[in-house]
C-alpha cells in the first residue's frame, strides 16, 4: 500500500478517537441516566472503530507502532482529525448538534468505504456503518426534540448549529492524500460526500425548526496538524496514564 493510505487511515482513526474521548466526558454527567448510557455507548463505538483503524494504520506504516502507540504517544501536531471533533463538548445541545453533523458524514463515509479495495478497511467499514447509522438516528431524534422543543432549547440548539457550521467545510476538503487514495481505490474523495450530506442533514434541521446557516468562511487545518488549543488539553488528559506508566496493564 502507500504512504497516502497510512495518512488516510490516521485521519479516519483520529476523527473517531478524539470524538469518542469528547463524548466520554459526559460519562456520569448525562442529563438523565438513559442518555448517559446512550452517549457512553456511542463513545465506545467510536473508540472501538478508532482502535481498529489505528491498528491498521500502524501496520500500513510498518514502523512497529500499534494502536496504543499511535493514540497515546503522538503530540497534537501529529493528530489528523478534523477540528469539528476536538471542540469542547459544550452543553448538551452542542454535543448533539456536533454528533449529528459528524455522524451523517461518518455514515456516508463508511458506507462508501465498504467498497474499498483494501479488504481490512472494507471490513472495518462494514462494522462501523451499522454503528454510525444508529448514531445518526439517535442524534437526529434529539436535534428535532431540542430544536422543536422549548424556546430555550431551540435557541441553544440554533446557537450550537451556528457555532459549529464553520467547522463542517473541512470534512469535505480533499487534498493530495484524498485524491491518491481515491485513485488507488482504498479510500474515497470526501468532496463527493458533501451533496449527499447536505441532502441528509438539511431536512432534519428544517424539521427541527432550525435555520440552516449560510456557508461562509470555513475553518480548516486539522488534517495538516494545525489544531485548536482544545486538542492539547484533551490529549493531556487522554494520554497521561499511558505516559506516566508506560506498558502498564490491568
Amino acid at each position: 500500500m502507500s504512504a497516502e493510505c497510512t495518512a488516510y487511515l490516521l485521519r479516519l482513526g483520529d476523527d473517531r478517537l478524539v470524538l469518542g474521548h469528547r463524548l466520554s466526558e459526559w460519562c456520569g454527567h448525562g442529563p438523565i441516566l438513559e442518555e448517559d448510557i446512550a452517549l457512553a455507548n456511542i463513545a465506545l463505538d467510536l473508540v472501538g472503530q478508532a482502535t481498529l483503524l489505528l491498528k491498521l494504520a500502524g501496520e500500513e506504516e510498518g514502523q512497529g507502532r500499534d494502536e496504543d502507540a499511535l493514540a497515546y504517544f503522538r503530540e497534537a501536531i501529529d493528530y489528523r482529525n478534523a477540528l469539528l471533533v476536538e471542540l469542547p463538548k459544550g452543553d448538551f445541545g452542542v454535543t448533539i448538534v456536533r454528533q449529528f453533523l459528524f455522524s451523517v458524514f461518518a455514515y456516508l463515509q463508511m458506507n462508501a468505504l465498504q467498497k474499498s479495495t483494501h479488504a481490512a478497511l472494507a471490513g472495518i467499514a462494514a462494522k462501523a456503518v451499522k454503528e454510525s447509522k444508529y448514531h445518526v438516528r439517535h442524534s437526529g431524534e434529539w436535534i428535532i426534540k431540542l430544536g422543536d422543543g422549548t424556546p430555550e432549547s431551540h435557541d441553544r440548539t440554533q446557537r450550537a448549529l451556528d457555532d459549529l457550521w464553520r467547522y463542517t467545510g473541512e470534512l469535505f476538503l480533499a487534498d493530495e492524500v484524498d485524491v491518491a487514495v481515491a485513485r488507488e481505490g482504498t479510500g474515497i474523495n470526501p468532496a463527493s460526500l458533501e451533496a449527499p450530506w447536505r441532502a441528509e442533514v438539511e431536512p432534519v434541521l428544517r424539521r427541527a425548526t432550525l435555520t440552516v446557516p449560510t456557508s461562509g468562511y470555513m475553518q480548516r487545518g486539522g488534517r495538516a496538524g494545525r489544531h485548536t488549543e482544545h486538542l492539547g488539553h484533551l490529549l493531556a488528559e487522554m494520554q497521561i496514564v499511558a505516559r506516566s506508566y508506560p506498558g502498564a496493564t490491568w
Binding site: 438523565i32 441516566l33 438513559e34 442518555e35 448510557i37 446512550a38 455507548n41 444508529y134 438516528r137 439517535h138 431524534e141 426534540k145
Partner: protein, 108 residues
C-alpha cells in the same frame, strides 16, 4: 422531602416533571416470547425504543424490543394474591404430570 407510601406514589406517567415511564420487553429471538427487561424514562415511543436499545439490549440480549407506557399496564395487587392464586394450590389435576409420555417423546 415528603414521605410517600405506596398509595400516593406518583402515577407511572409522572406528574413530577420527569419524563413518562415505559416498560421494556425483549425477545432473544428463536420465536421465544418478549420478556420484561425493566423500565426507563423517555419522552415518546421512539425515544423509549432508543433508550431501551441502549440500556437493555447492548449486550446481545435480543433481536426485538417492545416498549409500552407503564400507565397502560393494569397489574394485580398484593391484596389479590389470596383470591387470585391460592385456589390453584389444591387443583393438582391441572398439572398434566399424571400422564405417561409415549416412548420417543422427549420429556422436558
Amino acid at each position: 422531602m415528603t414521605n410517600h407510601d405506596a398509595t400516593d406514589a406518583a402515577p407511572p406517567s409522572s406528574t413530577d416533571g420527569e419524563w413518562p415511564l415505559w416498560e421494556v420487553f425483549i425477545t432473544p429471538g428463536d420465536g421465544r416470547p418478549h420478556e420484561h427487561a425493566g423500565s426507563l424514562h423517555a419522552v415518546d415511543a421512539e425515544h423509549a425504543l432508543e433508550n431501551a436499545r441502549d440500556v437493555y439490549a447492548r449486550r446481545n440480549e435480543g433481536i426485538g424490543i417492545w416498549v409500552v407506557p407503564s400507565s397502560a399496564i393494569t397489574a394485580s395487587t398484593p391484596e389479590d394474591v389470596g383470591s387470585f392464586f391460592d385456589p390453584a394450590n389444591d387443583k393438582v389435576y391441572r398439572h398434566p404430570q399424571f400422564y405417561k409420555s409415549p416412548r420417543g417423546v422427549k420429556v422436558f
